[in-house]
Symmetry: C2
Subunit: 248 residues, 2 copies
């Protein structure tokens, strides 16, 4: 059974300030929680239905397991449909940025759904990290975790002063703009940086001077723009398809 205090904590962890205070975040839903166990991540507490516990008892790795009925789990969840399980997970320490391969960097992507979708597509294309500006959506927000569909366990998100990071980068820094060079005709460097701008402002003034290659997804119709997550996925596909023709 979920106690009153536990329920209070679960609800509090939907907010950034309490995540910071407790150094924990929430993971909800079967798919995301099974990914946690598979990745051997530090689950402090698992609240789960008897069915979930029975079905996955060989996989569960958690310091503490609390059995709860589906109604209490739904009440404890910040997501609309979740009645299987909720986990409280210790926040990892932030890793260093690895600049040995392609680096994806986000400038002010503030929508949690977009950030989660970007983490998922970055994982699809084999990226192990994403660099985000300080004002990007909090990557421990339950909506972000949910939208990653489990990819949050494989992709490190590193929050930093983006302009300062780019100032130190050598080599090609690609930025997605309207009116740049077509991604269909760009030879991407294997260890470049790809910068994607925010939903409403694109790549901002303080970051723009570091972009040395403006790139664009060619448009064939009337839409003025693409969603930032969609654009990220399409550009990553264009970069990764080169691996067949330009083996490193």
């Amino acid at each position: 059974m979920i106690s009153k205090n536990q329920l209070k904590l679960l609800r509090a962890l939907a907010q950034k300030k309490y995540r910071k205070q407790h150094n924990c975040y929430l993971v909800q839903g079967e798919k995301n929680i099974l990914e946690l166990f598979a990745a051997n991540m530090p689950v402090k507490q698992l609240f789960a239905s008897p069915e979930f516990i029975a079905a996955h008892k060989d996989k569960i790795i958690a310091d503490d397991i609390v059995e709860a009925d589906e109604e209490s789990l739904s009440k404890a969840s910040t997501l609309v449909s979740n009645n299987a399980a909720v986990a409280i997970v210790t926040m990892p320490e932030q890793s260093c940025i690895d600049t040995s391969g392609l680096v994806l960097a986000l400038d002010g992507v503030s929508d949690p759904g977009n950030l989660g979708t970007i983490i998922r597509v970055a994982d699809w294309y084999g990226l192990k990290q994403i660099v985000v500006s300080q004002d990007c959506a909090d990557h421990f927000n339950p909506k972000v975790i949910s939208a990653t569909m489990g990819s949050f366990v494989r992709v490190n998100v590193i929050r930093t002063d983006l302009a300062a990071f780019l100032a130190d980068c050598e080599g090609d820094i690609y930025g997605a703009y309207l009116g740049g060079q077509s991604v269909h005709k760009t030879q991407f460097a294997a260890n470049g940086v790809l910068v994607m701008g925010s939903e409403s402002h694109g790549i901002r003034e303080q970051v723009a001077p570091y972009i040395n290659q403006k790139i664009t997804i060619p448009a064939f119709g009337g839409a003025e723009s693409l969603n930032v997550a969609m654009a990220t996925g399409i550009i990553l596909d264009n970069i990764k398809r080169q691996d067949y023709t330009n083996p490193q």
Copy 2:
């Protein structure tokens, strides 16, 4: 001022049964409404703030214009943030399917946000129509219209019995699967059909027999799948990039 009856109608049009009954749908927000005027679409009634009317008076084409304050507009809107304008638009008659070029077909895509995002990316890649199975999300749903970011004026959505349509198609019918041929290595026909399956079930049994080319976006990392809108955008990019190398 928005009258009580007008407010009742605006609220009712958020539901499919009332849209059908009144043969109208809602368009909300500045970007989408300006696209309506630019496309010369039949706006029956426009509810707008004095600022919106003043700013766009040369562009507004509507049978009836109702000036309203932002508070009433917010109340009348089904979207979270909309205080500029709401339009009631007459539903178009359904067009016939044009099979002379690439046809995008959706099998059971039920999430309105996904359908809207697919309409937007289809517009980006120059598609004029999308064929949808009867059980896809209603394309006049305000959430769909909103997610299209104006592209709903350029892309006809044609709702039909998808299996029956495909049974009549000649030529290449591509279906997005896990484990098909890589889209990076597929030579797409210029007038093929691309079928995308639903979020939870993929391409379903009644449609699968008509697919004669199973295709896949190659994965380089650990994510198990991509969102259907994302996958549609990436595959369209792969199809359209051929236009440079294989001019028709």
